[in-house]
């Protein structure tokens, strides 16, 4: 008994349970206007309905598809640029002021220009994801490579490692944790920026679904969309963390 109690105390489930209970009780007691905050039952109903007619799956897939393309492209570019820059420092010196400038532009502020240039197709959303995720991935990878203990590189030098081998067997492995941290941050950013992009200009995706529901005054669907976005984001992050742990464990054994 005591053990179960302890599990509950450590589970972090108390806060969501209390919030859910308050939401449910308040809705049923009529503490607020049901249009401003629909009841949990109504939100669940719209969730089930949306799955039944396939709308939700369609939008989720549209969003995920953009994440896969945008984040995949962004991560590939950021990682290769970080590798090239650490291999060839003069390039970084040349790029740094420009990158520093772009880093401080909130991706959302670029949306009008992106729509102007690329319309409301897939391109502006993918570019937006790249803008939002490039820097955390790039910066963390670069930092990880820079932070490699020079004493370990010396060990490799003593044992006759050529420069490329030092990079491959010492510097890169030591940077892996920070590269993965960057990827994880980037994945979170990509999700957030994507939904924002879909809110502005899209004909599919979860952001669009919310916007569409707003215009039809369906606050229950809006709320359902928000919850699905939150849950999917958390799920993606959790999945990534799980993959990292698995990889690191295997890396240690191999």
């Amino acid at each position: 008994m005591k053990f179960e109690k302890k599990n509950l105390m450590e589970s972090g489930l108390i806060v969501p349970a209390v919030l859910l209970l308050l939401w449910w009780a308040g809705s049923n007691a009529g503490w607020w206007n049901a249009f401003l905050l629909p009841s949990p039952e109504k939100v669940v109903d719209s969730f089930v309905l949306s799955i039944q007619n396939g709308e939700l799956q369609k939008h989720v897939w549209a969003s995920l598809d953009r994440i896969i393309k945008g984040f995949g492209l962004s991560a590939a570019m950021a990682l290769s640029l970080a590798l090239v820059c650490s291999w060839f420092p003069p390039l970084l010196v040349q790029l740094e002021p420009t990158l520093e400038f772009f880093r401080h532009i909130p991706p959302m502020s670029v949306i009008p220009m992106l729509i102007l240039w690329f319309g409301i197709g897939e391109a502006p959303k993918i570019i937006l994801i790249i803008l939002a995720t490039f820097f955390p991935v790039f910066m963390n990878a670069l930092q990880g490579i820079r932070d490699c203990d020079p004493k370990l590189v010396e060990v490799a030098t003593v044992f006759g490692y050529k420069k490329w081998h030092q990079f491959r067997y010492v510097i890169l492995p030591s940077a892996i944790p920070s590269i993965l941290t960057g990827l994880r941050l980037g994945l979170g950013y990509s999700w957030r920026s994507l939904v924002a992009a879909e809110l502005v200009a899209a004909s599919s995706g979860l952001g669009y679904m919310i916007l569409d529901a707003e215009q039809l005054s369906r606050s229950d669907v809006v709320l359902m969309g928000i919850l699905v976005i939150g849950a999917l984001g958390a799920f993606l992050d959790y999945g990534f963390l799980w993959a990292i742990r698995r990889y690191l464990k295997r890396g240690i054994e191999a």
């Binding site: 004493k151 060990v155 044992f159 240690i252």
Partner: protein
């Protein structure tokens, strides 16, 4: 190498490794510092050369140049008749003051670190196991560096230096960071490994007692120059209470002393 080349056998062969006129200058902002100021020395094959000196005497710089980690300003290192440079480094294995193990590799893979670029580490499992056995670390092949004590980690570092069968083993204050008992135990092991291996050992230390317990020759370095080169012809294990040991100790201490 095995047991055919006992330390005494090659002990007197000269012109094996020669250091000629070695100088190292560091340029600081407003002055030049001479870390090494003309080092000439012959290192005999199979010897256990211990370099002692105060901090700033240049002893670590000398070792780092031999390891190829730094370039001398002037002078040459000649090994078996040919000049060493960055293209033709000395065949060394090295142990640093800290273990410097790669934290993401198991003990076995750390020991086989010299073989990773060639992709040969997988074929050398039995070699790693026998090295671990020699170092008293049997059964630790899958342990990770963070699970080891300081003494154990330094043993692994020693195994790594020996795994590629180098002709010369460089030791840069390898026991300096260990507690007294671990240090004594590892001194005994170093002497044993030296006796068994037939390799040439070059060790830097600031501990004169350690130098006398291990070295076949003690070189005293002072301000970048060789102050004295004292042969130690005593059997292992050495009794530090015997008269010869004390006389030699006094000799080394006198050479180190500034007065």
């Amino acid at each position: 190498m095995g047991d055919q080349a006992l330390p005494e056998a090659g002990y007197r062969s000269m012109n094996w490794l020669s250091i000629k006129g070695l100088q190292k200058k560091y340029e600081l902002e407003d002055m030049d510092v001479d870390a090494l100021n003309g080092i000439d020395m012959e290192i005999e094959q199979g010897g256990f050369i211990v370099i002692v000196g105060r901090s700033g005497s240049g002893k670590t710089t000398l070792l780092r140049i031999l390891a190829g980690l730094e370039q001398q300003t002037e002078g040459r290192i000649i090994f078996k008749g040919s000049v060493c440079d960055s293209e033709h480094p000395l065949p060394v294995g090295m142990v640093f003051q800290e273990p410097r193990l790669l934290p993401w590799l198991s003990v076995e893979n750390n020991i086989l670190f010299p073989f990773h670029p060639e992709g040969r580490a997988k074929d050398l499992h039995s070699k790693a196991i026998s090295l671990l056995k020699m170092l008293g670390l049997e059964g630790y092949e899958n342990a990770m560096p963070h699970q080891l004590s300081g003494g154990m980690a330094q043993r692994v570092a020693l195994g790594r230096a020996l795994s590629c069968d180098p002709e010369i083993v460089l030791l840069d204050e390898p026991l300096g960071a260990l507690d007294y008992f671990t240090r004594r135990a590892l001194q005994r092991e170093l002497a044993r490994i030296y006796m068994e291996g037939g390799k040439t050992f070059l060790m830097v230390t600031h501990d004169v007692g350690e130098a006398l317990r291990l070295g076949t020759r003690v070189i005293v370095l002072k301000k970048g120059k060789i102050e004295a080169s004292i042969p130690i012809e005593l059997e292992y294990p050495r009794d530090r209470h015997c008269e010869t040991f004390q006389t030699l100790l006094d000799e080394v201490l006198a050479a180190l002393d500034d007065l």
